[in-house]
């Protein structure tokens, strides 16, 4: 019975392969569109996987019925727009927002603070305005009592779309207006950490006892969630104040734009498994020699140390190139039948072969090469929910009862995580922390 099921799944996948190209979707970062925003700051709680319920301070859209959220709403605007943000402060102390990388921010209302104008506690308001001159990945953060308010959660991402951006037109779907930053999917990785002792002191009304120099974070977050809440769907109802997920999905050969934001206080060596990524921008500037040159100073790397307050953009692509075996299985087996046809360069569309199948991005020099590993028997291994039972993309193998089930399309899972290994815990409990995955889905899989 199981064997029949597995075969049926294989045939379904083969069918899906045959229907290429399909599934044009390109993941879009959830957020709110500008250029005018009404935000509020207030206090709420988030659950953490160690069983805690942590008092946080957070931004949220000011609209009635909209929860506060960590991180704050991702603000999405167009290049050249005059961005206006009105902040209402429901916290017990003055608060404000600063926008690193934006020049000449003007303010109205509020009271002068050290870094910018502040909204008074218990309902005060202030308005910030600036022109989003340059595209890219930015952050916003509290500019008041920042060592406490950033720790408490008052951070968020700001994305400026380049002039002419159109998510539905591949040539215009870029991060910086240049083809070097074109992408098929984009994901935000906003990295932060918290020391629950500080949050408990604030919760109990003892914010005056917080000792910043001895802050010692033990909870690490991607997009406001600890691992492996990072994999739960965006907007999961059981995480009302943590609406953003961090699960990346892509198909072979596609370009994934990784937008990294350092939002906490510590640097984090973020390590996307599966392939090198190409760093194309830093602090929202293309790594290039000059206007029009594109990212000609981009560098490939497998770990990006994300500094607090800084942003990074990288392009990740997975093809299985030079793995040494056929990622789609033995083509002489009818259940795995497939061709490798390479007439064009998949990235440029030019009529120059690039060693990759034009539809599935299979690395043709490895076509038909067997997987030179004898998979161990069921008795000899433990299984995870993400193991399809097959090493071949888009296929399923036999699994013992109760195993598998989280890998819907026969994809390959790669861990993306902080390589500061202690950050893979939730308050000393492994696994967790700054941990998520990318799923390499078989061609034809629908990705939102």
């Amino acid at each position: 019975m199981e064997r029949m099921l597995a075969r049926a799944r294989r045939q379904l996948v083969v069918l899906a392969l045959a229907l290429l190209p399909a599934a044009p979707g390109h993941a879009v970062i959830p957020g709110i569109q500008g250029p005018s925003f009404s935000l509020r700051a207030g206090a709420t709680y988030i659950p953490t996987p160690d069983g805690d319920s942590l008092r946080i301070w957070a931004f949220g859209a000011a609209a009635a019925g909209t929860p506060l959220q960590y991180p704050g709403p991702t603000l999405i605007v167009e290049q050249g727009a005059t961005v206006t943000i009105t902040l209402t402060n429901n916290l017990p102390e003055p608060t404000s927002i600063v926008f690193p990388g934006q020049g000449a921010v003007t303010t109205s209302g509020g009271a002068p603070g050290l870094l910018t104008a502040e909204a008074a506690p218990s309902g005060g308001t202030v308005t910030y305005s600036f022109v989003a001159r340059q595209p890219g990945t930015y952050l916003y953060q509290s500019g008041s009592h920042p060592e406490l308010q950033i720790e408490m959660g008052l951070v968020g991402a700001l994305i400026v779309r380049p002039t002419g951006f159109d998510a539905n037109v591949p040539a215009q779907r870029t991060a910086y207006g240049h083809p070097d930053t074109a992408y098929d999917h984009e994901y935000l990785f906003l990295l932060s950490e918290m020391d629950p002792r500080i949050h408990d002191l604030v919760d109990f009304g003892h914010a005056n006892l917080v000792d910043n120099p001895s802050a010692f974070p033990v909870l690490w977050f991607i997009n406001g969630r600890n691992g492996i809440d990072t994999l739960s769907p965006a907007g999961a109802p059981w995480l009302p104040a943590q609406p953003y997920d961090a699960l990346a999905r892509t198909r072979p050969g596609e370009k994934v734009l990784l937008r990294f934001v350092g939002a906490g206080r510590d640097p984090h060596p973020f390590h996307p498994h599966g392939n090198h990524s190409r760093l194309v921008a830093r602090d929202a500037r293309l790594l290039g020699t000059g206007p029009g040159t594109g990212a000609d100073l981009a560098v490939d790397d497998f770990t990006f140390t994300i500094l607090p307050g800084a942003t990074y953009d990288a392009i990740f692509t997975w093809t299985g190139r030079k793995l040494g075996w056929d990622i789609y299985g033995d083509p002489s087996d009818p259940a795995f039948a497939h061709d490798c046809t390479d007439a064009v360069d998949n990235q440029t569309g030019a009529a120059t072969p690039d060693d990759l199948d034009d539809a599935t991005a299979e690395y043709c020099p490895d076509h038909g090469k067997p997987l030179r590993v004898t998979l161990p028997g069921f008795q000899d291994v433990a299984f995870g929910g993400w193991w399809s039972g097959s090493a071949f993309l888009g296929h399923f193998g036999n699994l013992p009862p109760g195993e598998g089930g989280l890998n819907l399309n026969g994809g390959l899972f790669f861990m993306w995580h902080s390589h500061n290994e202690k950050e893979l815990t939730n308050n000393d409990i492994f696994p967790g922390g700054m941990l998520t995955f990318v799923i390499i889905e078989p061609p034809g899989t629908a990705i939102p």
């Binding site: 990388g101 050290l114 720790e151 910043n212 001895s214 602090d283 607090p308 800084a310």
Partner: protein
């Protein structure tokens, strides 16, 4: 007592105007108050107390400039230690060593009034000429016993009035730290550090990095418990601390001062004007990674550790590793007080908010303000020039 650290965030920029001739550069160096002069620099290592904004008094070690800056005759520290140096006040960081482009050689002559041996090394530069490491048993020369561990990277200057000299025959251009090379895990965090700066040529800090104005941001930290233990002699013997493993700084300083409600913006002489190309030297004399963040503007990071980078990046942050330096070119597009804060959030004095590593830099109008649209830095001709040279 305290060297009046509260309200003196004014800096003198001795090399301020780009097109000056070589002779004028040397003369300006000599005019700079508190700046030691190449090629012979006389420093005094001495303890002092520093009062923090919260009133805490922290015992420190630091360097001071020898008052007459020479070894001729008598009358001050290097020639005549006894009594003559009582009025000399050290500070941390010590006086900047500002070399001119025509000074390839540097000799630092040290008078050591501390009760521990000290030495001078410059991070990113070769060890001083004729260096010999000093072992944990106090001997130097070839290592004779595996139990010997390095106590000093180079020859020590004896405590309580010893004199020593350290020579670099060909110091490269750039921004570097000088610091104690003896028992550095203790002595550096006590405050024995300072800035060495040397331009490539008149008006060019590095090759093809011209600048109009300059400002230094020297970051450091203080763990008062460790300082107390060193000062009262309890360091090294249980129950006192026996290492700096438990280092926990509680004061966070820029240019030797933590931010406080009394702090003022840095005003350079001559003043920084909008559209100037400002050389921003950042140094980290502390033991922790730092991330200075510039608000409402951006800088072009042109050098790290005293060496020009091949691909300058335009950022609003900078990674400032312990013992290292970053140089940035910054073109403020408008008159304003520009804010800089340390983004690892070392923003308190002890646990009190509103302090720590914050600064603001005052920029005056040059009379030709750019509109709001041009406030961001784009030194593209410079970037292109630097990058052309990579090939």
């Amino acid at each position: 007592m305290t060297p009046s650290n509260r309200t003196s965030q004014r800096q003198v920029a001795p090399l301020g105007i780009a097109p000056l001739g070589v002779a004028a550069l040397v003369a300006l160096c000599a005019l700079a108050p508190g700046a030691a002069q190449g090629a012979n620099v006389y420093l005094v290592a001495k303890s002092f107390d520093q009062t923090m904004p919260d009133g805490a008094v922290v015992p420190m070690w630091g360097f001071a400039a020898d008052p007459d800056g020479n070894a001729n005759g008598t009358g001050d520290c290097y020639e005549d230690v006894a009594g003559a140096c009582d009025a000399v006040v050290a500070r941390a960081p010590g006086p900047p060593i500002a070399l001119s482009a025509i000074d390839p050689a540097l000799t630092v002559l040290v008078t050591n009034l501390l009760d521990a041996p000290v030495s001078i090394v410059i991070s990113g530069a070769p060890l001083p000429a004729a260096s010999q490491p000093v072992w944990s048993d106090g001997s130097s020369g070839p290592r004779t016993d595996p139990a010997q561990r390095v106590r000093s990277f180079t020859n020590e200057t004896a405590p309580n009035g010893g004199r020593g000299s350290y020579a670099w025959p060909a110091l490269p251009a750039g921004t570097r730290l000088y610091q104690s090379g003896t028992h550095p895990q203790v002595q550096v965090q006590m405050g024995l550090y300072g800035e060495v700066r040397k331009p490539f040529a008149a008006g060019e800090y590095y090759d093809e990095v011209p600048y109009d104005r300059e400002v230094t941001l020297f970051f450091s930290e203080i763990d008062p418990a460790l300082h107390e233990a060193v000062a009262d002699g309890s360091y090294g013997t249980p129950p006192g601390p026996t290492s700096t493993l438990a280092y926990e700084p509680r004061y966070f300083l820029i240019n030797g001062e933590p931010w406080s409600s009394e702090s003022e913006c840095i005003e350079t002489t001559p003043a920084i004007r909008s559209n100037d190309d400002v050389l921003v030297r950042m140094l980290n004399g502390g033991l922790r990674e730092l991330v200075p963040m510039l608000l409402e503007s951006r800088w072009l990071l042109v050098a790290e550790g005293g060496y020009r980078t091949a691909d300058p990046r335009e950022q609003w942050t900078a990674h400032l590793a312990p013992g290292s330096t970053r140089d940035a070119l910054w073109r403020p597009r408008r008159a304003d007080d520009f804010r800089i804060l340390e983004r690892r959030l070392n923003l308190t004095n002890d646990s009190a908010t509103g302090g720590g590593m914050q600064a603001c830099v005052h920029v005056e109008s040059n009379g030709a303000e750019c509109g709001l649209g041009a406030e961001l830095l784009l030194v593209m001709p410079l970037v292109a020039a630097l990058r052309r040279r990579r090939g």
